[in-house]
Each structure stands twice: as structure tokens, then as C-alpha cells.
């Protein structure tokens, strides 16, 4: 097992390290940012009242009882949301060292070299436990060293344990799905869907009645009440990890390699794939469909709480005042506009995934095979860019339409269908900008492309935190979203819209020019 483990580690350490730095960093930059933001207890109470509304509960979970200290504010606003990141970490690594390796024939190869099933499974587990333990240590250590007021050791430990166990839970869930499903795309897709469905489920049950939320692991994190009551007992549900590990092992031990318990043989008929765009659209069908469904779900879940939001804001003068803003518009509409902004940032994710696909082609040296035919390289990248922009905008549009549909029953909101459509139009231009950036980075070098993802993550964090705590505007100025009008509370401003669109197209064209010239890996 030592040999196999060291081989796996050599293959994955860099990705794990990047995740540790990214996730650890993302967690640890927040406490100092929060510290001193609300210096008096009264201010924090006011903020807590702001957050105690259906929209925010859906986003970050129920407001914990007790005093709302900076630390409690941190755990409340971060824990559930960071759960997605920790879960994603577990899923990505688990899938890459299990089903993906099997698909590539690596598992067969190492078993033929005398490495046992026990060693393979054992090594996978050691990596899952080890990486989460390491991340927990980094977070616990970081929080403790920063030693910020109201961040107690016990709370730090509980935060680290909770997130690590959450990551491990999804690591193990992915291992199980890797046995059940016939290909790595499936195990990845289904575990990612579970991660998001548990989140969306919790989002609605947290608003309706938290008793129902207990099924969702995200809610276990809320129940820990980190930094207030520190209820360690809510770590117990994570004991299910042990059951899942046993199940994963049994499933793995009792099947043939490359076999699966659930098999679906779709499309028996030979499809007629006659061009590069067709080829890629066929390959990305699952990705695009699931993201479009996801965008619809996001729209529906936000839209469905608008009714409650209305009565809530009416009862909360503080919020009404906060949301009134400069323009003196309806605070509700102002709030909806901010939610739409966050949705638009999320909508750029599938777009970047589509541009990234050309790098999958390149890494697997299929690009080389393709470009040895008469298909020009730039034409391939160009297709990815255009398709990415179209799908990105379509996703935003779909979530706007479903938001409208779900909120039709809500009274007191005078946002028309046309307003929602204009919102989608408004956020089309930053989507193009992100796609253009992505194309430029691909054109320069595959290694650089991570910057596009970091920039998107940054935009999300800034706008997400902007909603909650109103962080400094300087941070927002580094994202294109800052310069746009907040539709529908404001009217579209075409000048910045066009400039952002133009920059996006320019970046994309530069990307094409570079891509044509650079060496293919």
C-alpha cells in the first residue's frame, strides 16, 4: 500500500495543495475583514436583524441564537457556504483517484502489477482523510494564531472539524458513486448534484421549517452553533461516514474493474457527428443540461421567497432603510437586484467550464489529432468562446424567467417580466468579458487559466459578501459587475455595458491570435 499511496500522492499532491491554499485562504481572509467592521454590539444586532430574513436564511442558513459576536457572524455567514467548497474539494479529488483512474485503465494496470484491492481502497481513504485533516489543521491553526476577539479555541476547533468532516463526507459519497456508476463523468456529475441539491433543499426547508433540514448535512453545520453554544454533539451525524466507507469497500471489493452496479446504455444508434461544434456539443450535453437545470432551480428558489421577503422588509425598518439606497427605490426591488447580481456571477461558471473544455482536448492530445486535419485551431477555440457566451447568457436568462415565474404570486413586487429580461441582458456583457478573459488565458498558456477561475471566485465572494456585510467598494471595483447598473432597481446603463462587452470581445480575439501561434502541449 505504501507504494501505491506514494504513487497516488505524486499524481495529486499539487491539486490538493492548491485546494488547501485556496480553501484555507478563502476562510482565513474573512475573520480579519470582519473584525472591526461592526464594532458595537448594537450594530451587530442590527446586522443580525437584517440577516434574519428568508432570502438570507436561504443563502446562509438560520440565524443562530445568542449574542451575535464577530465570530458568530463569521461562522453563520461562512460555514454553510464554505460547505459547498469543502464538498467540492472532496468530490474532485475522490473522483480523480477512483473512477477517473479506472476509466483511464490505471487501476487495471496497477492491479496487474500485484497491488491489491485493499491497497487501492486504503490509499484512497488515506488521501481523503489526510487531506481533510490537513485542511482542518490549517484552518484551526490559522484561526487560533490570528487570535481575534470572540474567536475561542473551542469554536475554532469545531469549525475546523465540521468543515473537514463535511469534506470527508462528500469524498466518501463520491467513492460510493464511483462503484455504482459506469464512468467518471457520472460519478462526478451525480455527487456534484447531491452537493447542490442538499444545499438547495436546506435553503428552502431552512425558510419553511428547520426540522425538515436535518436530512441535509449542511444543516448539521448550522446546528453546531460554532462560537456561541459550540454543540459538539452535532458532529455525531457525521458518523455516517463510517457506514459509507464500509459500503464503498464492499461495493468495490465485489465488482470487476470497469464494471458498475448501475449501467445505462444510451444511444444505440450511430450519431452523425460531422463537425467540431457538433462533436463538442455532444460531449458537453450533460454539462450544459445539468447547469441549465441548476440555473432554473436557483431562479425558482429565490423567486419563491420573494413573497415572504415583502412582509419581512415591511416589518423591519432597518432593512428597509438599508436597502433604500441612494436612489430611493423600493427596498425590495433593490434586494432582488442584488440577488440577481449574485445569480449572474454563478451563471458564468458553466461558461468557463465550456471554454475550459478545449484544454481537456489538449491535455488528452486529441487537439493534436484534430488540428492535423483541416480544422484550424483558432476556429476550435472560437467555437468554445461563442458557445460559452451563449450558454452563459442562456443560463442567466433561464434563471430570470424562473425567478419571475416563481414570484408571480408575491404581492407588492412591481418587477415585470420585461425587467427580468433586461436584467439578463444587463449581465450578458460581464459574461462575455469573463469568457474573453478565459480565451486569452487559454491562448497564452494552459497553466494560466486558473486565473480566470480565481477571478470568478473573487467576483462571487466580493458580491456575495457585499450583499451581507457591505464590504468596501474598492474591492468591488476590480470586477466588471461594479460598473454596471443594478437592474431592475436601476435602468440599464448602456455605456459601461458596451465597454465591458467590447473589452470581452477584444480579449477573446487576442486569445484567438495567441492560440493560433502557441505550441500545443
Amino acid at each position: 500500500m505504501r507504494h501505491y499511496l506514494s504513487m497516488l500522492l505524486r499524481d495529486t499532491w499539487f491539486r490538493i495543495l492548491m485546494w488547501l491554499i485556496g480553501t484555507g485562504g478563502l476562510t482565513l481572509v474573512v475573520p480579519p475583514a470582519f473584525d472591526g467592521l461592526y464594532s458595537t454590539a448594537a450594530e451587530r444586532e442590527a446586522l443580525r436583524a437584517t440577516l434574519d430574513n428568508p432570502a438570507m436564511v436561504a443563502l446562509v442558513g438560520p440565524v443562530p441564537p445568542g449574542e451575535y459576536t464577530t465570530a458568530v457572524m463569521f461562522s453563520h455567514e461562512m460555514l454553510v457556504f464554505m460547505g459547498i467548497i469543502h464538498g467540492l474539494f472532496g468530490i474532485m479529488i475522490a473522483n480523480s483517484i477512483s473512477r477517473k483512474m479506472e476509466d483511464q485503465g490505471l487501476l487495471e494496470y496497477v492491479t496487474s502489477a500485484g497491488i491489491t484491492r485493499q491497497s487501492i481502497f486504503g490509499s484512497q481513504l488515506v488521501i481523503g482523510i489526510g487531506m481533510n485533516l490537513l485542511l482542518g489543521t490549517v484552518i484551526f491553526g490559522g484561526l487560533t494564531i490570528m487570535n481575534i476577539d470572540s474567536f475561542g479555541i473551542s469554536g475554532n476547533l469545531l469549525y475546523a472539524l465540521g468543515t473537514s468532516l463535511f469534506g470527508l463526507l462528500f469524498f466518501v459519497i463520491t467513492l460510493i458513486l464511483a462503484q455504482l456508476l459506469p464512468a467518471s463523468e457520472w460519478s462526478f456529475g451525480v455527487s456534484l448534484s447531491l452537493l447542490l441539491l442538499f444545499y438547495l433543499y436546506r435553503a428552502s426547508t431552512d425558510v419553511i421549517n428547520t426540522d425538515y433540514s436535518v436530512i441535509s448535512p449542511y444543516h448539521w453545520l448550522s446546528r453546531l452553533e460554532v462560537y456561541s453554544s459550540n454543540i459538539y454533539a452535532w458532529l455525531w451525524p457525521f458518523a455516517i461516514i463510517l457506514v459509507l466507507i464500509a459500503a464503498a469497500w464492499v461495493l468495490f471489493a465485489r465488482r470487476d474493474l470497469d464494471d458498475a452496479y448501475l449501467k445505462f446504455d444510451l444511444h444505440k444508434k450511430t450519431r452523425n457527428i460531422r463537425s467540431y461544434p457538433r462533436l463538442q456539443m455532444t460531449g458537453m450535453k450533460v454539462l450544459v443540461t445539468s447547469w441549465m437545470i441548476g440555473m432554473i432551480l436557483i431562479g425558482l428558489s429565490y423567486g419563491s421567497i420573494f413573497g415572504d421577503l415583502d412582509s419581512f422588509i415591511g416589518d423591519t425598518p432597518f432593512l428597509a432603510q438599508a436597502m433604500e439606497g441612494e436612489s430611493g427605490t423600493n427596498p425590495l426591488v433593490q434586494f432582488v437586484s442584488t440577488l440577481i447580481l449574485v445569480t449572474a456571477v454563478v451563471g458564468a461558471v458553466p461558461a468557463l467550464m465550456i471554454t475550459s473544455r478545449i484544454m481537456t482536448e489538449e491535455k488528452s492530445s486529441r487537439l493534436e489529432l484534430l488540428m492535423s486535419t483541416r480544422i484550424p485551431r483558432a476556429a476550435m477555440l472560437n467555437f468554445h468562446g461563442i458557445y460559452a457566451a451563449l450558454i452563459g447568457v442562456l443560463g442567466i436568462f433561464l434563471s430570470m424567467v424562473s425567478m419571475y415565474a416563481a414570484s408571480m404570486a408575491a404581492e407588492g413586487i412591481d418587477i415585470t417580466f420585461g425587467d427580468y429580461v433586461m436584467a439578463a441582458v444587463n449581465y450578458a456583457s460581464p459574461t462575455v468579458l469573463l469568457v474573453g478573459l478565459s480565451m486569452l488565458l487559454i491562448g497564452l498558456s494552459m497553466k494560466l487559466h486558473i486565473v480566470a477561475w480565481l477571478y470568478l471566485l473573487y467576483s462571487f465572494m466580493v458580491n456575495y459578501l457585499g450583499v451581507i456585510v457591505g464590504i468596501d467598494e474598492v474591492w468591488q471595483q476590480a470586477t466588471p459587475f461594479y460598473f454596471l447598473a443594478e437592474v431592475p432597481s436601476e435602468n440599464i446603463e448602456w455605456a459601461p455595458w458596451l465597454i465591458i462587452l467590447g473589452i470581452g470581445i477584444g480579449l477573446g480575439l487576442a486569445g484567438l491570435a495567441c492560440f493560433r501561434r502557441r505550441d500545443v502541449a
Binding site: D103, A183, E185, D258, T270, R271, N272, I273, R274, S275, Y276, L279, T282, G283, S364, S365, R366, E368, L369, M371, S372, T373, R374, I375, P376, R517, R518, D519, V520
Partner: protein
């Protein structure tokens, strides 16, 4: 009459000189073997021809036109990489059809013939294919085109001997149609039989080009001998190398251009068995470097 001409191609990756002043010419209707050990620079050279890499210096002419001046030169090239990766969710048939469509080629009768010949199950998804089967898909797609130059990078590494023969037949057929073929390999005997001419590359440099017969001054052939008389004195001769005894058999490597001298020496020793093994690449290098040392 040259189909492809490489002039002084150089490509470096960081401090590695992967191709160092590589030049050779492939004539029309010629099968050209490109031989060198792993890491010698074969794939790098080929990837410059297909435009995946841009050379640091030097130029490439296809049909006497510099490829940097002809945007459509790839219409005349068909390429199969050494390690073929395909789209896991597509069937072999779908992939072959795709390549036929993008290359605008329609001969389905020939396609079916090739599928039959290479014994490919085209209805299966590519992710279930072995390396050899993926290679077959790419080979079939390449043979189907009417490109004038076929480039195969280590084509037979994943094929079993029977399929290798089918491959050789198809290469011969392409040649008979006037196509030129570039075959790379790290095993000399694999391409030697097929090739009209070969080039040998090592550490990025072409060290020899020509027909294998013309290269006899750098090749050695292994002889396996049994004789009535004592063979041990052979070991002292200058053109005999790596003398060793294995049971009844005595193995020696003989400089190819000294075969005459060797056989004359051997005759009085009353040989009862004489068997030869084809020249191996390593032996060529051995002799090449010994020669280089002697000359310096």
C-alpha cells in the same frame, strides 16, 4: 520530386534540445523510416510537421511549398499519433465518420473493408477500447483519406502481429497509390523491412540517412554459431564484438561491411549451424559511437 523536405529544424524546450538541426527529404511514393530510441526527438519533429509545435528555426516544405505560406497544407497530410486518445462517449464508428466528414471523404465501402481488415468492433464506445483498438480507429481514419503524405508515429506499438501485418499491407497499398509515408519507430526491425530509406535520430540529431544497405558501415549483425572447431579465437578479431557463449551456441556481433572477412575466417572452423539476427538499433549506436571515438 520531394513530397516533404525538412531544412535545419531546431526546437528546444527549456534547456532540452529536442530537435537539433534536423534535415531530411521524403520523395513522392516513398516509405521513409524515422528511427531513434525513446526521447530522441521523433515526435517533436513530427509535431512540427503537423503544426502543433513551431520550430525555433528552420523550415518545412510540403510539395516544394513552405508550409508557413500555405494555409491549406494539412489537406495533404494525414497523421496518427503514437498514443491515440479518443472521445470516450463516442463509438469507433462515430469517430471514423467524424474524421471522414471533416476531411470531406466519402468512400464507405473502403471504410467497411478496413474495419473488417483490422477487426474493429465499431459499435463500441471508445472508452471501452484498448490502446490497440484506439490506434486502429485512428489508422483506419488516416488510410481512408486521400492525403498525399501519411505520418505514423510509432504505429505498431499497440497492435498484435496479425494487425501489424494488415498495417504493413495498407502501407504498401498507399505507396502503390503514389502516397508518401513517414513511419517513426524505436525498433529498427519494425520499419526496416517496409522502408525505402531510413533516417536515424539520436538526442535530437540525425546521425545517418539512407537505405539500410547503404548504412552497412554502421550496422552490425548478430550471428549464432555452432562449429566443430574451437571458436574462441574469433574473439580476438577486430570486427567481432560481444563474443559470448550460451550453452552450445556462440553469439557474436559482426560489422556488416566485414561479413566477407568473417565468413572466410569461419569456414575453416567447420561451422555446423549459422543463424543471423537482424541489426538492432542499440548495436548501430554502439558502432556509431565507437567509430566516432576512433575517428577523433
Amino acid at each position: 520530386m520531394s513530397m516533404l523536405e525538412l531544412k535545419n529544424l531546431t526546437k528546444t524546450f527549456g534547456s532540452t534540445v529536442a530537435a537539433d538541426d534536423v534535415s531530411f527529404t521524403i520523395d513522392k511514393g516513398e516509405i521513409f523510416g524515422f528511427i531513434g530510441p525513446n526521447g530522441a526527438g521523433k515526435s517533436t519533429t513530427i509535431r512540427m510537421i503537423i503544426g502543433a509545435l513551431t520550430q525555433d528555426s528552420g523550415s518545412i516544405f510540403l510539395d516544394d511549398t513552405n508550409i508557413s505560406k500555405d494555409r491549406h497544407y494539412k489537406d495533404n497530410i494525414s497523421y496518427v499519433p503514437g498514443d491515440v486518445n479518443l472521445w470516450g462517449n463516442l463509438t469507433g464508428d462515430e469517430v471514423i465518420n467524424f474524421f471522414m466528414k471533416v476531411r470531406n471523404y466519402k468512400n464507405t465501402a473502403y471504410k467497411n473493408e478496413l474495419i473488417e481488415k483490422f477487426r474493429l468492433d465499431p459499435k463500441k464506445k471508445c472508452k471501452t477500447y484498448s490502446k490497440g483498438n484506439r490506434q486502429k480507429v485512428a489508422l483506419i481514419s488516416a488510410f481512408l483519406t486521400d492525403a498525399k503524405l501519411l505520418i505514423f508515429d510509432e504505429p505498431t506499438t499497440g497492435l498484435d502481429p496479425l494487425m501489424e501485418r494488415s498495417f504493413h499491407e495498407e502501407v504498401a497499398r498507399a505507396k502503390s497509390e503514389g502516397k508518401s509515408i513517414l513511419l517513426s519507430s524505436h525498433i529498427l526491425s519494425e520499419v526496416e523491412k517496409l522502408s525505402d530509406r531510413i533516417a536515424i535520430i539520436r538526442e535530437g540529431k540525425i546521425i545517418e540517412t539512407g537505405h539500410l544497405d547503404e548504412l552497412s558501415h554502421i550496422t552490425r549483425i548478430e550471428y549464432i554459431i555452432q562449429a566443430k572447431e574451437d571458436l574462441s579465437k574469433l574473439d580476438e578479431l577486430p570486427f567481432v564484438h560481444e563474443f559470448r557463449v550460451e550453452g552450445e551456441d556462440t553469439h557474436v556481433l559482426i560489422d556488416n561491411d566485414k561479413a566477407h572477412d568473417f565468413l572466410q575466417t569461419l569456414y575453416p572452423l567447420k561451422p555446423t549451424k549459422l543463424q543471423t539476427l537482424p541489426p538492432r538499433l542499440e548495436d548501430i549506436f554502439m558502432r556509431y559511437y565507437e567509430g566516432g571515438r576512433d575517428g577523433s
